[in-house]
Subunit: 424 residues, 2 copies
Amino acid sequence: MNPSDPKLKSFVPVTRDSHFPIQNLPYGVFTTPANFTPRVGVAIGELVLDLSVLEQAGLLEPVPGERVFNRPTLNAFMERGPEVWRRARETISELLRAENARLRDDAALRGRAFTSQAAAKMLLPISIPGYTDFYSSKEHATNVGSMFRDPAHALLPNWLYVPIAYNGRASSVVVSGTHVLRPNGQKKKPDAAQPVFGPSERLDFELETAFVVGVGNALGEPVSVDRASSHVFGMVLLNDWSARDLQQWEYIPLGPFNSKTFATSISPWVVTMDALEPFRVEGPAQHPPPLPYLATTGPQAYDIHLEAALAIPGKRATTIARTNFRHLYWSIAQQLAHHTASGCNTRVGDLMASGTISGPTPDSCGSLLEITKNGRTPLAIGGVERSFLEDDDELILTGWAQAKDYRVGFGEVRGKIVAARSHA
Amino acid sequence: MNPSDPKLKSFVPVTRDSHFPIQNLPYGVFTTPANFTPRVGVAIGELVLDLSVLEQAGLLEPVPGERVFNRPTLNAFMERGPEVWRRARETISELLRAENARLRDDAALRGRAFTSQAAAKMLLPISIPGYTDFYSSKEHATNVGSMFRDPAHALLPNWLYVPIAYNGRASSVVVSGTHVLRPNGQKKKPDAAQPVFGPSERLDFELETAFVVGVGNALGEPVSVDRASSHVFGMVLLNDWSARDLQQWEYIPLGPFNSKTFATSISPWVVTMDALEPFRVEGPAQHPPPLPYLATTGPQAYDIHLEAALAIPGKRATTIARTNFRHLYWSIAQQLAHHTASGCNTRVGDLMASGTISGPTPDSCGSLLEITKNGRTPLAIGGVERSFLEDDDELILTGWAQAKDYRVGFGEVRGKIVAARSHA
């Protein structure tokens, strides 16, 4: 049976609004209080299924004769390619089904193989050799262009032809839950004669997703838009933390640098493209038509609901943005084809983010820069105003694809702001 | 005796214009026709000294009880830090001295330990987790600003305060000798209605150096400008190949991407900062004074002569640019301090390039963009005109620090252009 079949049920309890039904099976890396060795698991309901235990028990062997799940990252598994991904997904799905007694009725094995997510510590799931951030939301590019450049020509002439991207900093990609230190940096008020160095006063989030390259390509051998799907393993939620004051002072002419390099947070669970396949939908119409190397046929977007919530100390978390991955103008296949069109090679674990995903309505903006119009219209949350993030604020991104009876979700990516390091 | 002492001589013959006297001892990774296992060596005269052989023979043990030179990269050695670097340099220097009989008179060991450079195949010497490209030559930034933006305000307001940099693509850094495939990409003529996709017609080089991080820093723990030298292992030559037509169309607002990601070439030999120390000189005066986190005392530049030569098929290589590392406005210490000031972490093997190094005179420009004024004043080489690089052209960078009786050099970084991949 197809592991995405809506009729499948697991013997593990899964509520209707859980992100992790048997149709999902996202991969992550975890430790437990009883076992500090990082290994690969999948989320199911409120549990983690330890794949290294299944491998050791001889129940899961997607790569014949080799172990790929007793590792500190997903890379060894991902680099084996789509056939191995599918074989693993089918076996894991089979083992979790309500009607399959093998794992269900083996109390000793179950005891070793399952941990509650509450008890598991999730680690960064991938080793990331390269991090690229696209800029693929037309609404976001238009909003930012209106504020920082010319409202009459908000979208730059290249934007409708080029899936614009820049290289990000891979070293500072961290997993959900990692505190985010407010960065110091150079900032200059418009009327000031010169910049000063100190804590960012315009610390922002960016609601993004990212895809993870499973199979790379060699230098000089581009991935065509039609072949992209065989290279892409899955997706995560991503918060591209941004210090707007640092960014505005530094970004011309070579793009953002210190304003972004201090931290980028991702969700601990990597949702596979196979699990997202049932949610494939048409993306925005593309006019002018893409150049031939970016031309695709058939639906290229995914219907993934996305939210950002802000938790101010002493207040309940408040949802401040609701948007959808389907609004993205450039598709994953177009992004990867463009990235490699120059001959650029990619490697297993490369992380390629969407750019801020803003929707067509004011409440669908994926950054405070846009929501508060660069601070001019602050948010009011329980009687407290927020233009940008304050110390001890926590920002939570979440997202899921909704089926009739269940959700295929990403869980959360959380990050709490801590006060800047003294620079005296 | 100090390994940089000018009076030192090796029993290995070294000519006066060799880049590799005993005062240098740069590290590289190589294989030989007889042994395909990559291992670490140092260059001396026209030979490579195999450090894995010295380690095995018990003559070299900078990390007590461990081997660090029988590896495919320098990373395991570099991450041990400055004390280990100095101990290794002293031992290797000692073993190569004319008056030391240990290696000199052991014919069997010499036979195993030495290979001619002509017979060695040099590999990429470092595993590079992150590649950053600065933009630290005031002359280059001014030249480019004049051509692409406004000659009256060529230098942007932030440039004299911020050591501007962007994240480069680490995956496509290749070692000298690797052919460079002309990239395809989007380009748009000023009078064209829309862009076209095809081979770059304005393929350029950029003459740069780069420093290599030996000891990284943790996220949230910046490296102060005073402590930078304990993190920096050495330097290489770097050619930041650039497709100017792709660059001009794509770079606003997030910086260069596909125009640079197709290849970046480095020299196979990493010259240590210890070997360059005797060539430390004052850099350019800095006005306005740098902000306190970038303030340094004492000389911060190095007197390193740099050249670019162009070899057109059927012609002899012609030197087309002569410049010097000492012209760089921002120092290595300032670059690293700025890079980490936001809290950004660095890792062993991180490569941080200078940006194109142009000097104050017309013949000291480090790119064809500047030399030919974006193609308006082509070079004439043996009766052939060149505005940008043609297929089968080879570009060769070289550089050395000149002492009275010897040179501490980088060797070369070469790259030959091969025709673009068909994109039909």
